[in-house]
Symmetry: C2
Subunit: 429 residues, 2 copies
């Protein structure tokens, strides 16, 4: 089956690989090391790491040595890194709260760098809609091709769900329910867990992370933005108990300012479909419900996506489908019928799929497909403004900006106690 409408094996390009400069790659720790580095290793014909920048150059030098990055240089300053002609793509994979202060100068320093073409930044891009707007404008002015790691769009399960819906396998969408449980916003935290993830304003909270990734996935699957939304944000667990090594109780309580619950409901632009969502922290409740459940009910079939963790973009999932294809006749001799012999059932699960790595890998693959025009698309545009709901391509800063507008509306709806019309947030400028 052609699950994601892309080549199963990327062809090796007959050209130089994309030279990647990393901000935030350090050996043995962090997301860049866990997800980006192995993705690039697996795409060694398409990418090579040529530059590293970290807060201290020793960390970069050690990383180069230990990872045997023979082509890479450790740059001592952001300026020297950003202006290096030996970089085609900069990847920013540091704490979101530092993004703004790095990206704005980076864009300035790189102004006269002729070889820099791509800027790939981790979601959430920045911590507020204002910062995101500024970054978006600066990057657009600089003329870079942007990429944002809304990597859930590259999950094979998400692509399969999108394909089933697009091809009419569930008819029209009737309604959607989502329930996601993100463990760490709950009653306890580990002492070794970094405290910034529990502090509001750092761009890694329940709304900015769990909700945004999941709702982006839903919009992508359904090929629709929202028309109106209402939300309620809760911080019902203002203090967490600190657990030491091996879950040892310390008796210590610490403040938590990030929310632990988000109720979100609204309707899609397309079909006015009602969507009901509940995102929460606290004890994972695995007895009778999975930590992630996305139920999509159509007039001719249903799709259910389930995962063990409430983070669809980094979880291995299971997709269940049951339905009848749109073009099957719904009546015979004038009698409405449900011909069960026409009913299709599918359970789609890649047993060993590593979603943490796999979705980021597929994102890099898409960028390479674009760069090398792997699919020989005639008149391929040199710039890819936004992905929107296309199967091909990758999400850009514009996709990120639109999603941040939704986050902003979610915050406003909760604060003001009102239902908000968001029909126009996908329009630009």
């Amino acid at each position: 089956m052609n699950y994601n409408q892309r080549s199963a094996v990327s062809t090796v390009p007959n050209a130089s690989p994309i030279k990647v400069g990393f901000i935030g790659l350090a050996v043995n720790k962090g997301w860049a090391y866990k997800a980006h580095y192995p993705s690039i290793l697996q795409l060694s014909s398409q990418y090579e790491i040529t530059a590293l920048y970290n807060n201290n150059v020793e960390s970069s030098l050690e990383t180069i040595q230990q990872l045997k990055l023979s082509k890479a240089t450790a740059y001592p300053t952001l300026e020297s890194f950003s202006s290096s002609v030996n970089i085609n793509m900069i990847v920013v994979s540091i704490q979101t709260s530092n993004h703004y202060d790095v990206i704005i100068p980076l864009l300035e320093y790189s102004r006269n760098n002729p070889n820099l073409k791509y800027l790939f930044v981790e979601w959430a891009l920045a911590c507020s809609i204002q910062q995101v707007e500024t970054i978006y404008r600066a990057a657009t002015e600089r003329g870079l091709q942007t990429i944002i790691s809304l990597q859930g769009r590259k999950s094979p399960y998400i692509l399969r769900a999108k394909e089933l819906i697009t091809q009419g396998y569930i008819g029209d969408i009737n309604s959607i329910e989502i329930a996601a449980n993100g463990g760490w916003y709950g009653y306890e935290r580990l002492a070794k867990s970094p405290s910034f993830i529990y502090q509001l304003g750092n761009g890694v909270d329940l709304v900015t992370t769990t909700f945004a990734h999941t709702i982006d996935i839903l919009q992508y699957i359904t090929s629709s933005y929202f028309s109106r939304i209402n939300s309620m944000i809760f911080n019902n667990i203002p203090e967490q108990e600190v657990l030491g090594e091996h879950g040892k109780r310390t008796g210590k309580k610490v403040k938590k300012t990030v929310p632990d619950h988000l109720l979100f409901q609204g309707s899609l632009v397309k079909g006015n479909v009602p969507v009901s969502c509940s995102f929460k922290g606290g004890k994972p409740t695995k007895k009778f419900t999975k930590n992630l459940v996305i139920d999509i009910h159509g007039t001719k079939g249903d799709i259910k996506l389930e995962g063990d963790a409430g983070f669809a973009e980094i979880s291995n999932l299971v997709l269940y489908y049951s339905g009848i294809k749109d073009d099957e006749p719904q009546s015979q001799n004038g009698v409405a019928m449900f011909d069960s012999s026409k009913e299709l059932i599918e359970v789609y699960h890649l047993r060993n799929y590593n979603a943490v790595l796999g979705n980021i890998y597929r994102l890099y693959q898409s960028i390479a497909d674009f760069h090398f025009n792997t699919k020989n698309i005639h008149n391929l545009s040199p710039k890819f403004i936004m992905q929107g709901f296309e199967f091909e391509g990758f999400p850009t800063f514009m996709d990120a900006l639109i999603l941040h507008r939704l986050i902003d509306s979610v915050n406003k709806s909760s604060a003001l106690g009102s239902t908000i019309d968001v029909t126009n947030i996908c329009q630009y400028p």
Copy 2:
């Protein structure tokens, strides 16, 4: 196990049975015949049917004859019926849209009837908050003991869930999700189906019936009203296709004005618990989800209630419980632990439970317990103002009024596009 804290077998009272006058009991048709009549048959020591009133007296006479109601009289007029001294309890079981026009004169006609003590009316009591307010005041002034058929409160599954929560089996409630699917608000309707159930204003729509019964059950289980709510009401299926005998397509389309979807979210007064609800019509989606799912997540356990139909008050359910009781220690030698040997699992299901009949039967049983003081409660009040969240007793017009205020807020929230504070709707006057 003592599932519902009431006597398993009602004692036979050493007193005359309650004399019941029915408005709307007709042989072989309707809800009174299906649910009320067999309930009374099974409680023949506590109740006897002594009077019938229907639009035409022939129907009453035929019913008396065929059901062999030897003690019953067919009254030709509402006035003669209401003033009959041979009635202790009047049961009104007709279309909700006719309630107001029957109940208001009934209360007037019965003003000097010394033997009439009980007035038992089917939910939704009336079609609007204004009508309900008027009926409530008139019945209170008349001094009758009122009963409303919010019979979901008598479901053994609901009582068991309430008991588990009250006794600390799931700790504090963290969050709740409800999804209910009511088939008939969907894309098709049977030609023989009465058209009033598809017309707004008749008190039998998705909000007034499906939502109200279910949310009443939820409030009852959790012993809490809501503090704030937001809702969105949809009529995405303004036309239904008419199906004839054996599902034959007629090609005819008819108007539907009742909603087919309701999104509802809010927080409970108790614990500020987030509640996410989705009620919908359309094709039943039985492949991956039940038509009724109530998920209650606590800090120490979970309860899941499931049913095949989206109507909790008339469905046989299954209750799943898993958790650790509140008073079990959560740490040992200072180490946080989850002692799985202390974990309880329960699946509660009465295989042959007829919920249509059973919940109404249990409601009659509660009224009889009150009337005959079956449980020998010292100083039992002669009037039972409201049930609220008590295990004992039965819901009254005041419970109905409070629920109608919530319905009214749901309609307002959707129409105004705002989140509404409902903290005070349970306060009276």
